[in-house]
Point group: C2
Chain length 412, copies 2
Amino acid sequence: MISLHTSPLDQPGTGDAGGMNVYVLEVAKRLARQGAAVDIFTRATSSTLPAVVEAADGVLVRHVASGPFEGLTKGELPAQLCTFAREVLRTETLHPIGHYDVVHSHYWLSGQVGALARDRWGVPLVHSMHTMAKVKNAALAAGDAPEPSGRLIGEEQVVAAADMLIANTELEARQLVDLYGAEPGRVEVIHPGVDLSVFGRNQPAAARRELGLPLDAHVLLFAGRIQPLKAPDVLLRAVAVLLEEDPELRSRLVVPIVGGPSGSGLEHPESLAQLSSDLGLDDVVRFVPPVDQSRLATWYAASTLVAVPSHNESFGLVAVEAQAAGTPVVAAAVGGLTTVVDDGVSGLLVDGHDPRDWAAALRRVICDPALRARLSAGASAQARMFAWERTAQLTLETYDRARSLMRMDVAV
Amino acid sequence: MISLHTSPLDQPGTGDAGGMNVYVLEVAKRLARQGAAVDIFTRATSSTLPAVVEAADGVLVRHVASGPFEGLTKGELPAQLCTFAREVLRTETLHPIGHYDVVHSHYWLSGQVGALARDRWGVPLVHSMHTMAKVKNAALAAGDAPEPSGRLIGEEQVVAAADMLIANTELEARQLVDLYGAEPGRVEVIHPGVDLSVFGRNQPAAARRELGLPLDAHVLLFAGRIQPLKAPDVLLRAVAVLLEEDPELRSRLVVPIVGGPSGSGLEHPESLAQLSSDLGLDDVVRFVPPVDQSRLATWYAASTLVAVPSHNESFGLVAVEAQAAGTPVVAAAVGGLTTVVDDGVSGLLVDGHDPRDWAAALRRVICDPALRARLSAGASAQARMFAWERTAQLTLETYDRARSLMRMDVAV
């Protein structure tokens, strides 16, 4: 696997690390358990990182020296593609010929490197986009900068080079075909999973005690990287509407924002805190730095609902994790969230990002205990449809398919 | 050879094409004449370009499809490095093993690709920087943007990967060692050349008649890409000072600006024309679009002097071409210009870019026919020191040296 711009060992919820990091590591672990050893190449971002780290049985993370450890922005990474590829090729030569059977790249930068490695090693390239510039640019958050044309071009090249593409959802598969000209026969839909042993084991009351939250509070959680794309501002504006309509709720309301600034959000790391102050919400909003998976599971379980107001999500791992904890999700009806959240069954889908619509959806869940109980049960059931074991099994089958469909190019 | 971002077939003086394009083609031609066939890989920038063009006997230009033909800026090219490298490697596989003996890359983008090809083919990498970000950023023209850190990093990587580096001048060699940590034993100074059969064959009077210039005019020529780095504005401001001090000169003064906007100059293509108007020089300044080598030689020969006010030049091919035509050069005392121009013998060097200093230097040449005649003879003599045949001969020797000094890396 190649995950150039973000390491599966990074803490999700900060920097460039998010759902994709969880995905890469969880799938790699299950692939290894199913007998396929995995090397994950990622760019070294610190001089203290060893060249190789065993992340799990059969899963090695290889830190590739390419460019300075710190200070490179995502926009500067394209200039490192060639050197990164060179180092990956060099590492491979330390092994017997035929060491790798398949290259699986994540995100377009890795796909560029993967295409070259594929040629060189004579093995198929399987690529997962995770996010796509054309989709992101079509649903741009206010204040967010469009993705540069270099990324769009790079993505098109990766689609053309890949022997198989893995889409997280049916919608993503359609976008690959419609926007990037992928051959339908080379696109496989495989849903990501969720680890029920991590996210499904907490009881709400115990979770609240652990986090020091009142048992009778309405806890409306946002978890994710703080950037315009993820739209945490929509939740705050909706809460302001809610409190204006029903000031009584204030004393029982807690709105935790778990995550750190990222991407274009880094340019204004304080803007969400400023918005909270401007809306007079400082007594209800609580900013919590990114936490590990186990602690995040406690936050989900402790919450009345989890809000996912993103302008776009290829899948929406937060939504499926929250559901695994038995917590209803109020999500924007965009991208993979329409697959993950069963509207009215495991949570509520909201069209658009109007704070009044969001306030209405939040109110429905808060003020209707019967609905809440029904959605909670539905959420748990929905989460059981997403298992990493199944993701890995289908991924292995896709590797086989890529081998049989390998484009008839010269190996170089 | 690799010349990713600009083709040796492009017209110098426009877009990203300048002295380096001349260099690549002239050296390649002489290498071929000395028995070493040359393939030059460059990025295809038009759908009408054939895959392979024979530029001269033994010199093939290979157009590599990598990214859209038009509309990619230089800043977007780093994202194409990996795909470009992939296509270069694919092309090589169409030949018998061992087809290429050496990779010679020009400019850092090409060096990134060259480093990978070197590994793959098991041949040495010889690299020519032509320009360097750290040098350029240290002498930035007002209004010019500094080169991004991604380029600095990329250059450092190429220096570390190259088996030999070719510097155009002793100064460039020192900069490679001092600023980029190059091993002194891996840096060879080889001066570019000039084609006397092209630039030394025109008589001034005939040239003026051909261009319709009065025989008694003072013709002060600027030739080059119009961008802040090349500082054509300094010439215009100096001419304004000159005319203020000596209005009588006006009727006999012609200031041709031969070249097109390029680089950061593209953002304000009209700013030089605007400056000319603001300074009240529209009757003496004449804008001429880029011309081919033969026509440029006519312009040099027709000129009283050629001004090269650049903020930096790795070499300064315009200065040596002008001298080949027997025309004195008034140049900024920066970079390679201090090697090319023999101060007081083949032209005048000016410290800094103060228009008053420049006006004084222009006046010395214009108003002193004896000095002018001496400088003209000195210019012709100086130009004979620079011959492409010699450049090519030393380059071939450097290839041999690179082979014997090849870094002991694994081939991949």
